[in-house]
């Protein structure tokens, strides 16, 4: 900030400083210097006073000394020659009997940041390392780090490094910690200070003496240590346990970081640590300092990535206070969305509903999109709230609701009826670009069900000349095209007008090209157009993608306790302000860890394409190479909607029970029931189950939450036998996994088909028993052995026993892999 009259002030100050009367009066002299520093911190350049200030340095008054040093350190780099004068008086101070003066002189000597003075500084620094007073040693140790950074090229004397290492055993804890810091800087090229077993144990033993800053530093450095044995690891962890629940958030966070890095190979230990740390983290969420609250909430988001259900019971802690700033509220809502479960969903929605009418527009919109996210699993309740909000007729709320509905409908197409009803009449309230774009998209895609759609579009088309936003014009064009496909009579005229405008009058090239493209497309015939414009429908199976699968701790452990989770960019990934959902490619990335474990258990790895539909390929060369039968691949398309599934399932079940005890040999339809022993599957989260199934191209359609009984999962897939040169051998398999929990899984043992391929693979032991075509009543008669297991009921059409058996192998292996992972 420029300061008016700066030069005048400097001149006046110089006069005062060189006035002998002032110099002889200590109090006046000090006050004048005070004035200089004040002008300096206001941003005025007072470097011209350097020589006067150097003179002021020679005084017995410690306060004055300190003030002058503040000045000298700021301007030394501008006056290297004059600074030489200061060194003399500083070196003299280093001999002072008062340790405070010694440390002050030493610190400022190293703070001058002048490479030319290094030779004068080294000697006092060496002496400082052996000083009696701890405060001098503290300064001297860090002084070497400063010196090193001043001349990074020159090597620091090995003797100094050795001395610093020996000072790690200094009785003063701050000197010890400073040594660590200095060595980290000096030995940066070699990877920092050597962390070996004796040093680690020494540091750990002295951890209690340090204050919280020292503890944080030591814990951070120790992250590099790798214990040599498991016993040592657990010794360290139990020693640090009390720090994990420290009331000081910095210590707690640093300890958790250390836990995560040391026990990276033991996921169970990491998870236990996360559980233990959740208490202190929650306490930090209620801290008096809101910046601290923010930091804690951001880190809880990280934790939730790996342990989604961790804080479910504490959801009330994340309700927003009404005076909290918007940035905290937004994060808290994101956490609330993650914590939703059957018990608390009503309370959370009720709370979020209250935020939707917040004065702060950002908060209101964030609350609405949070409700939309919850709507993916609890669509009815959320849609009810969202439609209620439309009644408020406020532009920012309506806009956010329409955008949220657009996103929701893409993921859960079954909501479309409610959404279509709600949309009527909200075009009047919409003002902003994003909201109108969302509305246009919805009108285009669901135009046949919204009676007023053509009229809404017509109004916009009439006003297209005055429309400023390119995005809206593009969306309008596409929406009109789409509507034309389903309601040609009403739309034909306006489409003609719009195309004419776009091609003849529009100045924007993109817009014009797009219109020309559509124009030519229409020439190719209505079927072609339909293929292009309606080709991409949302996948109904997206609806069951309830949440993200739990990620391994290692994915985020690196950025725990850094500024990364707090930075602005971190949230953007989830932000709602994007274009139409179809532009966002849904890319089911295979979970790296999971696919590794699966591929070694000879399952066909199926590559998932980057586009929405998964392609199948038989990469099972190594896996089933020994197998006699042809390799089988699974495929998800054509998709089966939940309704279709239910219909088919009930139909076949009826067919099956009808036939009673006799074996089904009629029709080309197979019905088998199996028992697989892998009880731990019950405890794995729906997300990971789903992810695992998707990896091998089995789609789960519906499942009960974990730990509930009876536990059920419904799934389907298509099998393809690629080898067969004859007819394309595809079958549809529908399946149910059921676990009633009690040891009532009675299944008959019949190893009639033990010569299956699975047996040849040596997988028989995992497949407990296998029974083809058994009826329900027979099962209950035969089975006497009681044990917990999962009843698998499969239904195949057309019948292909080999394919079915292979599919069962795949399924069993997935389930077993999941169970073993849980252990």
């Amino acid at each position: 900030m420029p300061y008016l009259g700066g030069e005048e002030t400097v001149r006046e100050l110089r006069r005062a400083l060189s006035n002998p009367n002032v110099q002889s009066d200590p109090l006046r002299y000090r006050n004048t210097i005070l004035k200089v520093i004040r002008t300096m911190s206001q941003g005025v350049d007072v470097s011209g006073l350097f020589s006067e200030m150097v003179k002021a340095c020679a005084t017995v008054d410690v306060v004055q000394k300190k003030l002058v040093y503040v000045f000298l350190c700021s301007y030394a780099t501008l006056n290297p020659e004059l600074s030489l004068l200061v060194i003399n008086s500083l070196r003299k101070d280093c001999q002072d009997p008062n340790p405070m003066v010694r440390s002050l002189a030493l610190r400022n000597m190293t703070n001058l940041r002048l490479p030319s003075l290094v030779e004068y500084v080294e000697q006092p620094l060496t002496a400082g390392l052996r000083d009696r007073a701890a405060c001098v040693r503290r300064v001297a140790v860090l002084g070497w780090a400063k010196l090193h950074n001043l001349q990074p090229s020159s090597e620091i004397d090995a003797a100094v490094v050795n001395e610093l290492y020996s000072l790690l055993r200094d009785p003063d804890p701050v000197v010890m910690v400073n040594c660590l810091r200095a060595l980290e800087e000096i030995l940066k090229e070699e990877g920092g200070v050597a962390i070996n077993k004796p040093i680690t144990h020494h540091l750990l033993n002295r951890l209690k003496e340090c204050d919280i800053w020292g503890q944080c530093e030591v814990l951070r450095v120790l992250q590099r240590y790798r214990p040599q044995s498991e016993d040592e690891l657990f010794d360290i962890l139990s020693l640090l346990d009390s720090f994990l629940v420290s009331p000081h958030p910095p210590v707690m966070a640093a300890t958790l970081s250390l836990f995560l890095s040391v026990s990276s190979s033991l996921p169970a230990v990491s998870l236990a640590a996360l559980e233990r740390v959740s208490g202190p983290l929650l306490a930090a969420c209620g801290s008096g300092s809101r910046e601290m609250r923010f930091a804690a909430v951001c880190h809880i988001q990280l934790l939730l990535r790996s342990v989604p259900g961790l804080l479910g019971v504490h959801y009330k802690r994340f309700f927003c206070g009404y005076a909290e700033p918007a940035y905290i509220k937004e994060r808290k809502m994101q956490v609330l969305v993650e914590l939703v479960n059957d018990e608390n969903v009503a309370m959370i929605l009720d709370e979020l509903k209250g935020y939707c009418t917040d004065v702060n527009i950002d908060t209101a919109q964030a609350a609405i999109s949070a409700i939309g996210r919850i709507g993916r699993s609890y669509s009815d309740r959320c849609l009810q709230i969202l439609t209620g909000l439309l009644g408020l007729k406020q532009d920012h709320i309506t806009s956010a609701v329409v955008q949220t509905m657009r996103d929701l409908v893409w993921v859960c197409p079954q909501c479309s009826d409610t959404v279509c009803l709600a949309l009527e009449g909200c075009e009047e309230t919409l003002q902003d670009i994003q909201g109108r774009q969302a509305l246009l998209w919805l009108l285009g895609v669901y135009g046949e069900r919204i009676s007023s759609a053509p009229y809404t579009l017509e109004v916009l088309i009439d006003g297209v000349r005055s429309e400023a936003s390119l995005g809206i014009k593009m969306e309008l064009l596409t929406a009109t095209m789409r509507l034309f496909l389903c309601r040609p009579a009403e739309t034909q005229d306006m489409l003609g007008r719009l195309l004419h405008y776009c091609i003849e009058e529009e100045t924007d090239m993109c817009m014009r090209d797009q219109a020309l493209l559509y124009y030519h497309l229409l020439h190719c015939g209505i079927e072609e157009t339909r293929k292009v414009l309606q080709g991409r429908r949302s996948d109904p199976s997206l609806g069951v993608l309830i949440g993200r699968p739990a990620k391994p701790v290692s994915q985020w452990a690196r950025c725990f306790n850094t500024l990364e989770p707090l930075s602005q960019g971190a949230v953007e990934a989830e932000s709602a302000s994007r274009g139409s959902p179809e532009h966002m490619t849904y890319n089911p990335k295979p979970n790296a860890d999971l696919s590794d474990t699966l591929s070694c258990s000879h399952i066909q790895e199926i590559h998932s394409g980057s586009d929405n539909a998964m392609r199948c390929s038989d990469s099972s060369t190594d896996g089933l190479a020994s197998s006699i039968t042809a390799p089988l691949s699974l495929c998800l398309s054509p998709a089966v909607s939940p309704e279709d599934f239910e219909h088919l399932w009930l139909q076949r079940q009826a067919l099956h029970t009808e036939r009673g005890a006799e074996k089904i040999e009629v029709v080309d339809c197979a019905w088998i029931e199996e028992c697989v022993r892998c009880p731990a599957v019950l405890h794995c989260s729906p997300q990971s189950l789903q992810a695992a199934m998707q990896l091998v191209n089995i789609q789960t359609l519906a499942f009960t939450p974990k730990h509930t009984l009876p536990w059920r999962v419904y799934l389907y897939t298509h099998t393809q036998r690629s080898h067969s040169t004859d007819a394309p051998n595809t079958t549809l398999i529908l399946g149910e996994l059921l676990c009633t929990g009690e040891a009532n899984q009675k299944a008959g043992v019949k190893k009639g088909t033990a010569d299956s391929e699975a047996g040849a693979e040596g997988k028989e032991d995992q497949l407990v028993r296998k029974e083809m075509v058994a009826t329900a009543d027979r099962l209950s008669e035969d089975g006497q052995e009681e044990e917990e297991g999962i009843k698998v009921t499969l239904n195949q059409q057309p019948r292909d026993d080999d394919a079915l058996r292979q599919f069962l192998t795949v399924l069993t292996t997935v389930l077993n892999t999941l169970s073993s992972e849980k252990d």
Binding site: S41, K66, D211, P249, G288
Partner: protein
């Protein structure tokens, strides 16, 4: 590791600027201020970055306290450091404001010099720092008649002098050695309530976060013993004895507190260092021992003239002798509300419509326990629809309850041993604040 620390006023004036590592240019302060003011929304987020440099800042006393650092630093440590720095400045300067920072800049530079060296935090303990800090604090205290009224007729002690003036604890800790050893110690029990009451009057959430803060002006430290209620218990599992038990869910102590008498007699022992420190923190959720301090009974309807009528009855359920002060109810109203006419039940209340924040703010300076106030607000809303009713509420209440703790925690005694030679004064104060007190309609 901290590269720089600076303190800015809310208008962006540079008050303090200290560069520890000499790596960044001087214009970085202006860069920060530009970034902060360019953000939308009144509350900028805590962390911002400019190329590789990260700014972490907190707001205290209307000032920006900023540290610059690299991405790998611990946010917890830096935020805690800035909070601690602000607390130390407050201890040394007496109060925290733009003016006090401006007047004491030399002292703050000195403090920073001792606290941080080369970007590494050395110590923040006021016990250690007091040996190094030489500069005297400059305070400006407005002349107050209140000081005079403490002196009774012919110097006799009046009743009033038994109550410490509210400004007693806002003075610098250092001046004690000059002022002839006015050694005092303040123990504050401060609780913050977070409450959500549903539209049907059911309590949905109640959290209390409390702390015991000691502010010590004793020149020489001696051991202090703080006795809490004997029936104080921690955790849910413990059985309650007879009488009103005081219970908290979780409790943590300052590391200097010795707890050898805590289990048997609920006594905390510590040697307080000069300045302010939090001795104990505790939390209680969902199970308050006493009734909620406030209940609201709203009736909202539309009259024939298209006006919105809000009839609010607010009841204070505190014990009759005590009172709440600075009560302020914020009632969100429909967008586009034009004017407000009001009927309040007593003259010491006031209410106004704040179109900016779309709310009616109803203020009550003092609200005695066991009483009830009512207000009728008539709002002129041109575009009133039935859906607009949804926009009314939830009501946010802010208040201060002096001499009351929501958990019932009390300090039985406060003993200093060995007994101080000079005259020493011990003060115990209780206060409960509303952190967030929300009543749905």
């Amino acid at each position: 590791m901290i590269s720089q620390v600076f303190i800015l006023s809310s208008k962006g004036d540079h008050l303090i600027h200290k560069d520890f590592r000499g790596q960044a240019g001087n214009d970085i302060v202006s860069t920060f201020y530009e970034k902060v003011t360019a953000l939308t929304g009144d509350q900028p987020p805590v962390v911002m970055n400019h190329k590789d440099l990260y700014f972490v800042h907190i707001r205290q006393g209307g000032l920006y306290w900023v540290a610059t650092t690299t991405v790998g630093s611990s946010p917890f440590a830096i935020i805690e450091f800035l909070n601690r720095l602000a607390a130390l400045v407050k201890d040394y300067c007496g109060s925290l404001s733009e003016k006090s920072v401006q007047m004491n800049f030399a002292l703050i530079y000195e403090l920073l010099d001792e606290i941080v060296d080369y970007g590494y935090i050395q110590t923040t303990s006021s016990d250690v720092l007091k040996n190094f800090i030489q500069t005297e604090a400059v305070t400006s205290r407005p002349f107050s008649l209140f000081d005079l009224s403490n002196v009774g007729l012919f110097g006799a002690e009046t009743q009033q002098s038994k109550v410490a003036p509210s400004s007693a604890a806002t003075r610098p800790i250092q001046s004690s050695r000059e002022q002839g050893g006015k050694s005092e110690i303040f123990v504050d029990v401060i609780e913050r309530m977070t409450v959500v009451i549903g539209s049907n009057g059911v309590l949905m959430k109640a959290d209390v976060e409390g702390e015991i803060r000691v502010k010590c002006y004793m020149p020489s430290c001696s051991e202090m013993r703080i006795g809490l209620n004997e029936e104080f218990s921690i955790g849910k599992s413990q059985l309650r004895g007879y009488g009103a038990a005081v219970r908290v869910d979780e409790c943590s102590f300052h590391q200097a507190v010795r707890l050898d008498e805590f289990d048997s007699h609920r006594i905390l022992r510590l040697c307080p260092s000069q300045g302010e420190q939090t001795v104990m923190q505790y939390q209680l959720s969902d199970d308050l021992p006493s009734a909620l301090p406030f209940r609201l009974f709203p009736t909202i309807e539309r009259d024939n003239g298209g006006r919105l009528l809000m009839y609010m009855k607010l009841r204070c359920d505190l014990p009759p002798k005590s009172a709440a002060i600075n009560v302020c109810a914020t009632i969100p109203v429909p967008k586009g509300s034009v004017s407000l006419s009001q009927e309040l039940s007593s003259p010491d209340q006031s209410a106004e419509l704040k179109p900016q924040s779309r709310a009616v703010v109803w203020q009550i300076a003092r609200f005695a326990g066991g009483t009830q106030l009512s207000a009728l607000f008539k709002l002129e809303v041109p575009s009133l629809s039935s859906a607009s009713m949804l926009e009314v509420g939830p009501v946010g209440l802010s208040f201060e309850l002096p001499k009351i703790t929501a958990t019932g925690l009390q300090i039985r005694f406060l003993r200093l041993s060995p007994v101080q030679p000079g005259p020493s004064q011990r003060w115990v104060r209780y206060v409960t604040h509303s952190d967030s007190y929300t009543i749905r309609i």
